[in-house]
Amino acid sequence: MKFLTEFGLYLLTLKGMFSKPENGKMYWKEFMHQCSEIGIGSLGIVAIISIFMGAVSTLQTAYQLVSPIIPLSTIAQIVRDTVILEFSPTLVCIVLAGVVGSKIASELGNMRVSEQIDALEIMGINTKSYLIMPKLLAAIMMIPMLVVISAVLGIWGGRLAGTLTGILSAATFDKGLHQAFKPYNVFFAMAKSYTFAFIIASIPAYYGYNVQGGALEIGRASTKSVVVSCVLVLFSDYLLSALLL
């Protein structure tokens, strides 16, 4: 019953976002600010995770593929598909659920508790629209871009690890990258990243916007939003895999 109430409130919060902006220029400014916060702000951590993720994939795949009848270029193939299909969209989005999600929840929660949201409401501003919509749109725009960057860096990290350790040459790795490439995998990764981006922005926005109480509740809302986002990312990952693959 509590789940249905929460889900209903979540839908109402999202529904409340759709209204004519009071001033399009201010909304655009806020959207660009959020793009910078979510996109540029998360670029560092995404880059680090992706490079190491690709590097570890290469090393572990090479460790497991010990048969002499399997060509070395297969390592690159496996790394490419693992990174594109799973690591970049899912792993990066789980990290972003923590980084971006907790930021959105605590920012909105703090604004609620310190009456800044009330102040905006009294000015005649639709706060759901002004505060949540730009974050949601910025996440939907920036997170798939981060996933693409992550995939590129992941594969590059794998190539780097492979050549540095002498497991395979750069030419062999590049050959493997071109073998049996399915563009559909990229479409699948993008479908996942758009879905995850919506979850990562909307769930923390709901918890942060509806905080009641003080500093303790902001922390709780932030933690809860990250946990719920991560679970939903994993659940929708399974659902999309079952539906689209």
């Binding site: 201010m26 009330d118 005649g124």
Partner: protein, 269 residues
């Protein structure tokens, strides 16, 4: 003018405001006073539309706020300014940006025009050197003044102040009270102040409504409050022995039985 008629508001089984009616006149400082939990903040939130009353009417210059659709409410809200208890300034913006925010959102003025208006209101609240400071870098009294500046920057018709003196020292409180009073008279605004600060009651209370457990217990002016026979009001206003004595002295003075300027020394002997 704001008129409230038979406002009722409850949360669950608890009735927080019970059948409260009053009229807040334009160009006057209207005070809502009462102990903590008496329902004054809930009443103010009902007035500005943050809470929906269970029943009753709130009329802004004859227009029923409760019956307005969202678009009309939005339009009306642009003529409302509010000073919050904690100032509610936007942390990520400087003082100047905070005050400019309503102008950015609701006017098509040029940057120079907006900057001029910001300078005017900041000067009006005696804050001339704080433009580039962030809320975290200024004192509580300064935050309140920035809050007032932001509230009046769009020339509102109605000004709401929720406990404007909370957390301030008596001298700064008096300055804020004076500012609210001056702005009310200068711009002919309908001002509603929610307070339990007795200095404010005596200084700026043109019209005072005393609330007790969600009910309007007494209504009058700061001139009348001192002679009130209402026990609940007297217990609230003149809570300390010192204030009780002060009330008695003032009553005797007004009745001509003592002259504070002349025979106080004699009385003290």
């Amino acid at each position: 003018m704001i008129e409230i008629k038979n406002i009722k508001k409850g949360f669950g089984d608890k009735m927080v405001i019970n059948d409260v009616s009053s009229v807040f006149e334009t160009g006057r400082c209207n005070l809502i006073i009462g102990t903590s939990g008496s329902g004054k903040t809930v009443l103010m939130k009902c007035l500005v539309g943050l809470f929906e009353p269970d029943s009753g009417e709130i009329c802004y210059d004859g227009k029923n706020f409760s019956e307005m659709n969202e678009e009309h409410r939005k339009a009306l809200r642009q003529s409302i300014g509010m000073l919050f208890q904690g100032s509610a300034l936007f942390d990520s913006m400087t003082v100047e940006q905070n005050v400019m925010f309503p102008l950015d959102m609701f006017t098509k003025n040029t940057v120079a025009e907006k900057a001029k208006r910001v300078d005017e209101v900041l000067e009006r609240v005696n804050l001339v050197d704080a433009h580039k400071k962030f809320p975290a870098e200024i004192s509580g009294g300064m935050k309140k003044r920035v809050g007032i500046a932001r509230a009046i920057v769009l020339n509102p018709k109605y000004l709401f102040c929720d406990e404007p003196n909370s957390g301030l020292d008596p001298q700064t409180s008096l300055l804020i009270d004076k500012l609210i009073k001056e702005i009310t008279y200068e711009y002919n605004i309908t001002t509603v102040v929610n307070t339990h600060d007795m200095n404010s009651v005596m200084e700026i209370g043109d019209h005072i409504m005393y609330m007790y457990q969600g009910i309007k217990e007494w209504e009058g002016s700061n001139k009348e409050i001192i002679f009130s026979k209402n026990k609940l009001l007297n217990d609230f206003i003149f809570a300390s022995e010192f204030l009780k004595d002060a009330k008695d002295m003032r009553t005797l003075e007004v009745k001509g039985k003592i002259d504070n300027n002349r025979n106080m020394d004699e009385l003290l002997k």
